[in-house]
């Protein structure tokens, strides 16, 4: 659906030139929710703004739905942009227009007729749950409501792609979740491809199918969220995940509290339906090993259940070895920490 090839963006010229992105490649499939995560300054905002050419790439090609945007003239680009919706961190609504008129904006650009606009806007108001606020101005709405208007406006032109530029970063956690649920809902309902950038792992974990980690103007890691989240390869990725799931200090204290010949700390990762099975206690009972749970998370990645437990086994070394082998055989991922 979206192909980014050799994308380079340099700001300024000569001595003052700053490279935001260098030779970046990315491929986003139709109908998926693709997340790009990175720290501020990593280039993620430039990346998403290059997709609809709000930012013109210095080099490289941008393909959306088989059309090379970077080759189009102004008029053709305006035409293509109507198929790409976008929502923003600061909503960017017209402050002088009502909720209704904001949502109608893209329709009026293309000269839709009044009854068509009315029908469409009312549909969208219902979709985002703002029917009662139709005549209000943005200044009278909460942040979450403003973003709902943003979503409705972005959907008005029936786009194939929705770009979300830090769409939840200005919202509190509850509102973030409600907007994420809305995005997931429209993704399923309209089979809409969604590209979102964020600095919050929580956002990726909640709704994304695939994720790319951006750092220093390039992608350092990319893959299925379950894969990247549970087995991060790059240091930056680990940072994001650790801050989301683990509490480093207390964990180290827990591991160091009791160490010795007859104990071993391991990280066990569960994925899918196995997360809810009693595999661990069954295996431990069979091998006669005791275990203490030092830290753990049981949650979901989008709708896939997963668990990650840091466990200390206590017992004869051989029995612990057998336990680990058995758990691995049962399809769990076991990593020895100490």
């Amino acid at each position: 659906m979206i192909e980014i090839r050799g994308l380079t963006k340099v700001y300024g010229k000569g001595d003052k030139a700053a490279t935001a992105l260098s030779g970046l490649n990315l491929s986003i499939k139709k109908g998926e929710i693709f997340g790009v995560i990175g720290h501020s300054g990593a280039g993620k905002s430039t990346l998403i703004r290059c997709i609809n050419l709000l930012e013109r790439p210095t080099e490289g090609e941008i393909w959306v739905d088989g059309v090379e945007l970077t080759k189009l003239n102004r008029g053709q680009l305006q035409e293509q942009r109507r198929k790409i919706g976008m929502i923003f961190q600061h909503f960017n609504l017209l402050s002088s227009a009502t909720v209704y008129d904001n949502i109608a904006f893209p329709l009026r650009l293309t000269g839709s007729t009044r009854p068509d606009i009315d029908l469409k806007v009312k549909d969208l108001l219902a979709l985002v749950g703002l029917e009662e606020h139709s005549d209000k101005y943005p200044a009278q709405l909460s942040g979450g409501q403003k973003q709902r208007v943003g979503v409705a406006r972005a959907l008005a032109s029936d786009p194939d792609v929705l770009l979300c530029d830090e769409a939840t970063s200005a919202l509190d956690p509850q509102t973030t979740d409600s907007i994420l649920r809305l995005l997931l809902d429209i993704n399923k309902r309209f089979h809409l491809t969604i590209v979102l950038i964020t600095h919050e792992m929580h956002v990726i974990q909640s709704i994304c199918d695939r994720v790319a980690v951006i750092h220093g103007g390039g992608i350092v890691e990319e893959g299925e969220v379950t894969e990247v989240f549970l087995k991060p390869q790059h240091e930056i990725t680990r940072d994001f995940i650790r801050s989301e799931t683990q509490n480093e200090g207390p964990l180290r204290a827990a591991i160091e509290a009791k160490q010795g010949e007859y104990s071993k700390a391991v990280k066990i990762t569960f994925l899918g339906q196995k997360t809810y099975d009693s595999t661990l206690s069954q295996v431990a009972r069979e091998t006669g090993v005791n275990f203490a749970i030092l830290q753990g998370t049981i949650s979901t990645l989008k709708d896939v259940p997963y668990g990650q437990l840091i466990v200390r086994f206590e017992g004869p070394a051989a029995a612990i070895e057998i336990t680990i082998a058995e758990l691995t055989a049962q399809g769990l991922d076991v990593e020895v920490i100490s």
Binding site: Q78, R81, L93, S95, S96, L109
Partner: protein
């Protein structure tokens, strides 16, 4: 200093002068907006263009605007006498003053419009670009509505400035209250005429400012 005597004032003449001032204001205001608003929009758009050619044109235009704004109005009026004659056939009276008023006030309004447009949130403009809006759609559907309070404020300031310009035009044969104040109040020492003329202009400015503020408030949504 003798005592003031308002009884002998020619109120008929006062009324005619007031109407003449209002007429000058209305026409010059209208033409100033017709000229100044597009000029302000063009200044705003060209000032942000990426094209070097357009940036050069902008610099030239901006320079011309600055020149027109820095020439004292009274001198501009005199300099524009031939121009006024060629446009409206005369350089005196209500009609003869209007071209100079418009030339004097348009660059002023244009700068105020440019400033008001710059206040519009860049993000909103980008959102519109992202939705495939053309430049003219961005001007008519984003910039002008979003800047509406600022534009009304700009128009108000310009009209108030025009009131003082119309008064100044009395020095070189313009009509209206300024003319009356100069001819009777200044040349013939009729202080009463001077006082009433000035009072009427103060009232006019007050009314304009109040109406302008009201419009600004009405359209402010933030």
């Amino acid at each position: 200093m003798g005592s003031l005597n308002f009884a002998d004032l020619n109120w008929q003449e006062m009324l005619e002068a007031t109407l003449a001032t209002i007429k000058m204001l209305a026409y010059s205001g209208l033409f100033t907006i017709i000229l100044g608003l597009p000029l302000g929009i063009v200044l705003y758009l060209w000032g942000r263009s990426n094209s070097i050619v357009i940036r050069v044109i902008y610099s030239v235009l901006s320079f011309v605007v600055n020149i027109l704004r820095s020439v004292p109005f009274i001198i501009l009026m005199v300099a524009l006498i031939p121009f006024s004659k060629s446009i409206v056939g005369t350089s005196i009276g209500v009609l003869g003053t209007i071209p100079a008023l418009v030339i004097g006030a348009s660059p002023f309004l244009a700068r105020l419009v440019e400033t008001a447009l710059r206040e519009v949130d860049r993000g909103v403009i980008e959102a519109a670009q992202g939705m495939g809006a053309s430049t003219s759609q961005i001007v008519t559907r984003v910039l002008l509505p979003e800047a509406r309070p600022g534009l009304f404020a700009a128009a108000t300031i310009t009209l108030v400035t025009l009131v003082s310009y119309t008064a100044m035009s009395g020095m070189v044969g313009g009509g209206g209250l300024g003319d009356l104040a100069i001819r009777y109040g200044y040349y013939r020492y009729q202080k009463e005429v001077m006082i009433i003329s000035v009072a009427l202009m103060v009232l006019l400015v007050q009314l304009l400012q109040m109406a302008g503020d009201r419009l600004v408030r009405h359209f402010t949504r933030k």
